[in-house]
Every structure is written in structure tokens, then in C-alpha cells.
Point group: C2
Chain length 586, copies 2
């Protein structure tokens, strides 16, 4: 019986032991032309957000966190006008205050770490680990042991119970992060929430809010309450707003205040540029593009203005203690990453990596989860060294890279220049890729750029999973290719990373619904289709006996033909002859 | 003195010995903020087409060809209605006949090959070789010796004097081909000419006319008379039209007639699926996607219908003799290339490659230039083997690959999935990349798709040149990165592969002309720019003495800080403490 209703819908998988359910997308396929059924394909899915953004999404993890009994609610830090930056301070009011439910913040009740790493090291299997194991289709013990070893992280602030647990580590599927956030030039909370929703819809595994403009605190609150994925930030951006943009006025106190503010809101991981040491800064002086990391340049500027060592480095253990109390993960920032292929793999970059490796191990002493950020701009032949060196120095801590871009000459296409480098670096072990949108170097991404960036990076991540031989990675490719070969257009669309775009492109030349079951496509038209001819071949000559007959006939003819041809050539005295340009009778 | 008029304009370079001039694009740069001048950057350029497409472009090579004295004009084959396909035959008239000047066709006057390979092997330096040497910035002897060895080709039919000579070979910059052409579903000569112009404008090095619909002969005439780049075709497509789309009625006579028709028009290289042997066809029967090459499936269908060996293989020496008389190059088609990553590097694909290697050497015996086509769909970890095997088996004959796509799950984004594979395969020696547009697998590319495809593949080709360490390849990257660091926006745009797109993206957030000289961008806004902070660092701390002071200060502080911290931690009994969430006074 023909299955005439291919579909793409939410389904759930269940952890047998705990009963925890995990959303997946189930793609139901039409039958093959010969009547045989095609098994549905299930793919990784982040369920939320879907509803009214003013209310936020359900707090999936709330009970899990409470049941552990190791955290307590407390009266958090008071929100100040300065938290929303200079604009709010000038206006005397923050705009568009979060309207949904508010929770009192939680933190460790005991002074002990409440991190997934701490639990994993004690041999405890958390609901978060079970959720992740179902999502990844692996044994939960693999999840626990990789987290315990520091080779994977599950970024899950206790104050972000809305998040659907996910894991970042080289033993698992490669993940994609999408950067959003406003700037001083353009700012709108609604737009940022919409970008979060689009990023998640197209498959972003985490989202970073890199806002540097107005309403920083409030924008982040809206994002967190609507985020089913871990949210990352670069706290120095907000801290800089609190000192009116003057890096020299930055202090540990202001930074620490900002960190705690964000821990209480529920930020899951934070980029900390603790590896930008004073003595590394001069190593960048003769670069083509100096320091291009915003956080890196702020800290370098601070170090030089004060002639003091980077306080993120000197206070690193205090940071660890704070992070351990909320289960915030470090994303150790590469403040000295190259901003051009000319500066790739240079002394400044690798000096900082040595320090990031040292800090990774210090964080682990506090049971704090860590990933390490990587470049940037790297020509293709130097990409592999980056991940192999990081994995070696950092004892396998997850690597999280921005691209890298493999050439500098294509602004407007840097999602592509960087996807090339991203696939290469992920193939050799990078655990999460930070997307780059077409607007990189030129402007802030809009909603469409977010979609293009996410899908482009899903390609890179998936291509790397395939190249790594990740179990089951090719199932979706194979299902789509089979559908393509059998002209099951609807199945092709549904199996695509971007079904809507694929269908709209198809419809530009063949819009009718009938064309979606037609045995041809607009490339070749109805009478001239290689896939159709090929299918005919298979139908006629697919059995072994037919194959043998064909091979025997071929060999005889080739031998005969060669002999004849050679005789002809010899008869002609070995000379080539000029063809007569006559037209055969038709 | 500030250069306030950065520009992007046509310039010429001259071969000192012959006086031959070669067009280049000269990008004049603004001065740096410190007043120092930035040398102009010259980049590879194809000059035409620019003018009225009904008149065609100048015949640059006409005198060179005539002066060699080894070709003669003759009364060519008469054009028949069937040459324009079934539609024209039905109408009883071909539409939109070519209106510009017509030349009588030329061919070898002596029966000897008139190919660049023949000249090169005799030690002759042709004007075409000189032109190419200037374009590539190499010694002309390198050009001659690579062509003589078969490791490079200069596709230049004597009947296409409009073409600006270019070279395809691994010792030279990686080239990009753009496919255009109509189909039975959609057809317009004007649109195809426009696609040719756009492809060339954005940097396509050759263009293939893959028309399979109406007006095949006439469309090709318009394209050739307007093409400053070599034009390639797949003659079997037209031959199939002449037998009303019925592959079983195909014959050597019809095919040969089509070849001569196209030789006389000026086609520079032709894809010939001579490696699809009868005995290889059964090897595809159990593939996920069978045979996906249109030419390959036609020949496989013919072989099986007749139970005879592929006539392109048995008649290969006759083909060589025809090609030698016009200097048409073979593009040995990979009719059994994989159409899905599941079928990559399989027995059918590699069996055909063995035969293509055999045919390469047979063509060389006739002094006919050859390149070899490659896949297709290949997962990233299997890409490198393809080019290394081809280079080994084919004694370095240029490899010309379609992508390859590294995953099958992203229809609508296959310019990207394939650019990833293309960069990898070019890095290891592929000489020319056939672009893939966003419409691949879904429909015919329009003008915008051609632009996107070409620019995407210029990225892949250039990134591979950089990765290969091709001399001078990074000059444009470095100039653009320096311009970026110095906020020379106009220079950034002009140095880009697609200046218009880069500028339009920039203008979406900061449209004013003033913003193009502003020392910030819309990503961070005026007060928060890492590039600006970094430049300040360089200005203040760029000298060696300052660097030394910084390093010394850093080391002292780190040592002191570490000692203090360690003491603190010991005093606290090695316990972590819980941070108090108070806000510092502000």
C-alpha cells in the first residue's frame, strides 16, 4: 500500500529507565515505486520555542534541579538601571521589562559545586545525562564518563531550567552555535527574540547573546526565558557598558558583579578572555590585523593602561568558585585569535592557547565545565594543526571554533569561506562550531542571515560527522539520496536541512503539485533524465545473470574492436587522417 | 598625500617580447591613516564580453591563428533544422538566428594536429602561451612544458578566435567553470547569453553550454560569438535531440556529425563519456543512486540496448583525429560518477577512471589536449583519494571536478556543500572546479544563481591556491585584511570577490557615505570596536622597548599573584567558598 502522506512531525523518544521523554523530528517517507516501504527517519530536534514569547517556555528541568536538593533559592542581586546600559541610565528607565513569570535565583546550598562535572565524577547519572544520551543515541555511561573526563560538557545553569540538555564533545555529534545580539547602532528586544526562535528552528544547538547596545540585561532576560538551548554570553561586553565604555575604568568588582547578575539570570556558558596575558599583547603588534576579538582587545587595553596582569587570569579561581555554584561553563575565549589568514597560527595565538590549557585544568580542579575557543581566520592547510594542538594541550577539553575562514577576500560570503574551514576543523575533532553569517565583517545579521548561517553550519557539522564516521550519520543522506533517485520529491524536501527553501527553488520552474510526483525534474525535462534512464537499467539488468552476460559480451567486443582498429591504423601507415565534414543522411 | 579615489578599473599588462597585451583589474587603494601609500593590487580578469550581444566580441586570436599558416578555411557543414532540435523541426524554423558576422570554419590544412599540445611538444611558443604566461605571472617556458607534458591544457578551438587564452593545470591557479544552458522545460537564447555575461563578469574561467532543449545550435552560436572564455559542451545531449530523444537510435554517425558541427562553431572542449564501458554498467546496479550523469546514462542505455561496446570508446581514435584538426580538447566524462555519498569511490567509479587514464594516453598520441572529469558526491574523508588516484593513473592530466558535495542533505545549499569538497580536492591538485549553484538538484540556475555559484567557487579555487602555497596567492587577502584593519571600507569592497554585495550588506545598517570612512562598523558601533582598540595598542606599544617593559612587568606580577593566591587557598583549608551575591557600590 502506497504511503501517500509523507510528513515531518514532532515525535518523542523515551528513556526506558527514567521515563524521560526527548523530542525528535520524525520524517515519514512515501513508499518506493516498487511498493516497498521506507522506514521513517528520526532526526535531532530542539522542541521549543513555539508559543507566546511574552510568557516564555516551560521549565523542563525545574523538578530535576529541585530534586537534587543541593541548591537553594535566595534573594538575588537587585537589578539596577546600569544593568541595561547607558541608554537606560539616560532615560531613567529600562524598556520592555520582562513580563512573564519570575523565579528567585538558585545557587549551591552547600558551598560545593553543583555542576554536571561534579556529579559525573562522583559517578552520578543525572536526568540531564539521560536526556542527552537519548538525544545522541548513545549509552548514558558514555555521556557520564566523557563529562567526568572533561572531554564533553552539558551547559546547564541551574537558573535556566527551560533548556533542553545537550552535550558538546568530540565523541558526540558536532554542534552549532548561533550568535545574536544588538549593537549600539541597532537594538530591538523583539528582533533578538525572533532571531533566537529562528536560530533554534533551523537547528542551532546553543545561542550566544552578544548584545553590546541598549537594554542588555532585559534583552537577555527575554532570551533566557524563551531559550530551549543553552545561552552563552561574553560578560565583558556588559561590564564595559557599566563603566561607560571606558576599558581603563574596568575592574574586577564591576566584572564580578556582572558575572553574578548573569549567573542569576541563567546564562549557561560565558566567554572569559583570561588567556590574554600582559606579556602576550606585544606579540600582536606586528600583525596584519592586531587583535580582532572585542573581549581580547578590551582586556589587552586594560592590561596596558594599568600595566597589570589581566584580572580574569589573576582572579580565575574566584571565577571558578562562582561558576561552580550555578553550573556555568567556561568558554575560554581566544582573545588573540588571528583576524586574517596572514596572522594564523602565530606566536600570540599559540601562546594564549598554552595559557588556556593551564586554565582548563584549573577549572577542572573546581569541577567546573570548560570548553576552549578557537579561531578565526586560518588558511586551509593550517587548520588541522589548530584542533590537534588544542586537543593535545587541553587534554581533550571540547574545542569551540569560529569558522575558521580560509580566505579573507569574500566579505558577503563569509558563511561559505568559514564553513569550508569549519568542516575541516570539525573533522579533526572540534566539538562545536560558531556560525558565521553572510553579514560577517559588514553588519549585524537579520533573521534571514541567521537562517542562512545556521543551515550553512549544520552542513559543516554534519559533513564532519560523516567524515568522522560518526555512527548513523549517513542515514539521512542515504534516505534523501534514495528519495531523489526515486523521484519522491516530497520526501526529499522533508529530509532536507531547509525543506521550505528546497521546495521554493523546485517550484520556481515546476510549481504544480503534480510535478512533485513527476519522474523528472526541471534540470532535464520529462524525456531526458539520467535518473530515469538509470532506473530503467536497474529494472532490466539488475539480476546477476544479466550482469554476467553483459560483461562477457563487452570483453569480446573490445578485444575484437581493438584488433580491427589496430589493423586499420597500420594499414593507413600510422598517419592520422583529416575528417571529411559531410553530414550523414538523416 | 592621501589617495582619496580608490578605484577598480581595467588595466593591461604587456608581454615584453611579443607586445601582446593582457587585461587585468587594477584596484587602486587609499593611503593608510598614517599617510603611507598602499600599492595597487592587480587581479586576474577576463575582459569581455561588454558590448552589444547581437554583434559579438572582437576576434582576439584571429591573426595568431591565420599567421601560423597550418589551417585553412573551408565550406563547412550545412546547418540543418534538426540541429536546433525537435522544436525547431516542428516549427519548420529556427528562432533568433545569429545576426552578427559569420566566418567560414577553419581546420588543419595539412592533416597534422594544430593543437597547442603539438606546438608545445615541438618546442614552439605560441601567442596563446605568451598570453597565458602574462595572465598567470609565470615564465612562458613553464606554460609550454606543462602543455607539452599533458599536465596543462589551453582549450582554444581555431574556430573560437574570440577567446582570451587561459590555462588549466595544477601548476597554475585553480580555475572555475560555470554551467549554463536551457532545458526542454525552459529555454531563452537571451537569458543564456546574459548568464554567460554574468558568469564571466563574476570570474568564470570557462563556461559549459549544457543546453538540452530548443535551439541548441543557435543558442551555442550566440554564446560562442560572445564568449571571451573557452566554451565546453556535452555533444551527446544534442545528438540525442537529433534522434528524437531515443538513446537506442543513437549512432556513431549522428554523434560524429554533431561533433563536427560543434568543432566548426568553435566549441573549445567537449565532454565525451568514452569510459562508460558495457562491462562497467552492471557495477552500478546496486548503487543507491545508479548512474546520475546524463551522458553516462545515455551511453549505458545505448550499450545495453544494443549489447555493444560504447561507440565513443571503440571510435576514440577517430574522435582524436577530428579534435586534432580543430584543437578541441577532451574533457573525459565520468559517466559513472557517484550521485550520493553512499556510492562514493566505488568499483564502478574507479573502473571507469582506469579507462579514462587509458584514453588520456591515447589522446596524447594524437597530440590532443585532455582533461579528466571527476565527482560528484564524496564524503570529505574520501575526497583526497580521488585526485591523488587520478593524478597517478592519468600521469598528471588536469583533473576537472564537479564539487564534490560532501553531504546529500542540503538541497538549496549545494553550492556550499560542494564548495567544501571543491576546496579540499583542489588543495590536493584538481586544476578546474565545475561550479554548483543553489538550484542544483532542484531546477535550472537563473542569473543570480550563476553569480552565487561563480563567486562561491572563486572562494574555493582561491582558498585552494592559498593552501597550496601558490606564489602570490595571499597578496589580495593581505591587502584586504590591512584595509579592514584600517577601516578603509571602499578598499575592502573593491578588493572583494563581489564588491557590490559587500557594499550593499554594509549599507543595510550604515548607508551613509560617511560611514565608509568611519573608524567603526555596525557590528560594534562607534565606541566599541576591537579593531580600533587594537590599533591604539599598536600606536602606543609598538616599539621594542615598550614591549620589553610590558613583558617584564607581566612576569613579576604573575609570579607575585600566584604566590599570594596559593597562600590564600591554603589558608582557606583548600575549600571553595560560596560567593556573596552583593552588588558593589557604583
Amino acid at each position: 500500500m502506497q504511503n501517500d502522506a509523507p510528513s515531518r512531525a514532532l515525535a518523542v523518544e523515551r528513556d526506558a529507565q527514567s521515563g524521560i521523554t526527548v523530542p525528535v523530528t520524525e520524517i515519514t517517507l512515501a513508499d518506493s515505486p516498487d511498493g516497498s516501504a521506507n522506514a521513517p527517519v528520526r532526526v535531532y530536534r530542539t522542541e521549543g520555542p513555539g508559543g507566546d514569547p511574552t510568557r516564555g517556555i516551560p521549565a523542563l528541568r525545574e523538578a530535576w534541579i529541585a530534586e537534587r536538593g543541593d541548591t537553594e533559592e535566595y534573594d538575588g542581586r537587585d537589578r539596577t538601571l546600569a544593568d541595561d546600559g547607558r541608554g537606560a541610565a539616560r532615560r531613567g528607565a529600562a524598556s520592555a521589562e520582562w513580563q512573564g513569570a519570575r523565579r528567585r535565583p538558585r545557587r549551591s546550598a552547600t558551598g560545593k559545586p553543583v555542576t554536571q562535572m561534579a556529579y559525573a565524577r562522583r559517578g552520578e547519572i543525572t536526568p540531564e545525562m539521560r536526556f542527552v544520551a537519548v538525544r545522541e543515541g548513545v549509552d548514558v555511561e558514555l555521556v557520564r564518563s566523557e563529562v567526568a573526563a572533561g572531554r564533553a560538557i552539558i551547559p546547564n545553569n541551574v537558573n535556566h531550567p527551560e533548556s533542553e540538555p545537550m552535550i558538546i564533545g568530540r565523541a558526540f555529534t558536532v554542534k552549532v552555535n548561533a550568535n545574536i545580539g544588538n549593537s549600539a547602532v541597532h537594538s530591538s528586544i523583539a528582533e533578538e527574540v525572533e532571531k533566537l526562535q529562528w536560530a533554534t528552528r533551523w537547528g542551532a544547538d546553543t545561542v550566544m547573546d552578544l548584545s553590546t547596545g541598549d537594554d542588555i540585561h532585559t534583552t537577555r532576560e527575554w532570551l533566557l526565558r524563551n531559550a530551549p538551548v543553552p545561552i552563552g554570553t561574553v560578560p565583558i561586553y556588559q561590564a564595559l557598558e557599566k563603566v561607560d565604555g571606558d576599558a581603563s575604568r574596568m575592574s574586577w568588582e564591576v566584572y564580578r558583579d556582572t558575572i553574578i547578575e548573569q549567573c542569576e539570570q541563567g546564562v549557561d556558558y560565558m566567554t572569559v578572555h583570561a588567556g590574554v596575558l600582559l606579556r602576550y599583547v606585544p606579540l600582536t603588534a606586528n600583525r596584519v590585523t592586531g587583535i580582532v576579538s572585542r573581549g581580547g582587545s578590551i582586556m589587552a587595553g586594560w592590561c596596558l593602561a594599568h600595566h597589570q596582569e589581566n584580572f580574569l587570569y589573576t582572579r580565575f579561581d574566584e571565577l571558578c568558585e562562582i561558576f561552580a555554584a550555578y553550573d556555568v561553563a567556561f568558554s575560554l575565549g581566544d582573545g588573540l585569535r588571528p583576524g586574517s589568514i596572514a596572522d594564523a597560527n602565530d606566536a600570540a595565538q599559540f601562546a594564549e592557547l598554552d595559557t588556556l590549557a593551564e586554565l582548563t585544568k584549573r577549572a577542572w580542579e573546581h569541577d567546573v565545565q570548560v570548553m576552549v575557543e578557537g579561531p578565526g581566520h586560518i588558511p586551509l592547510h593550517l587548520v588541522r594543526e589548530n584542533v590537534e594542538r588544542q586537543q593535545e594541550l587541553c587534554d581533550g577539553a571540547p574545542f569551540y571554533t569560529l569558522g575558521p575562514l580560509v580566505t579573507d577576500i569574500a566579505p558577503g560570503y563569509d558563511h561559505i569561506t568559514s564553513a569550508i574551514g569549519a568542516t575541516e576543523i570539525a573533522r579533526y575533532g572540534t566539538a562545536m562550531l560558531c556560525y558565521v553569517t553572510p553579514k560577517e565583517h559588514l553588519g549585524l545579521p537579520n533573521r534571514d542571515d541567521v537562517r542562512t548561517g545556521v543551515v550553512t553550519y549544520k552542513i559543516a557539522a554534519h559533513a564532519a560527522d560523516v567524515a568522522k564516521g560518526h555512527p548513523g550519520a549517513t542515514a539521512r543522506d542515504d534516505a534523501l539520496s534514495k528519495a531523489r533517485f526515486e523521484f519522491r520529491w516530497r520526501d526529499q524536501f522533508n529530509l532536507s536541512l531547509d525543506p521550505e527553501l528546497a521546495e521554493s527553488y523546485h517550484d520556481e520552474t515546476l510549481p504544480a503539485e503534480a510535478a512533485k510526483t513527476a519522474h523528472f525534474c526541471s534540470m532535464c525535462g520529462p524525456k531526458f533524465c539520467s535518473m530515469r534512464i538509470s532506473q530503467d537499467i536497474r529494472d532490466e539488468f539488475g539480476d546477476a545473470a544479466a550482469q554476467e552476460r553483459v560483461v562477457a559480451a563487452s570483453q569480446q567486443q573490445v578485444e575484437a574492436g581493438m584488433a580491427e582498429k589496430a589493423a586499420e591504423f597500420r594499414a593507413a601507415g600510422g598517419e592520422v587522417y583529416l575528417p571529411t565534414p559531410t553530414v550523414p543522411a538523416r
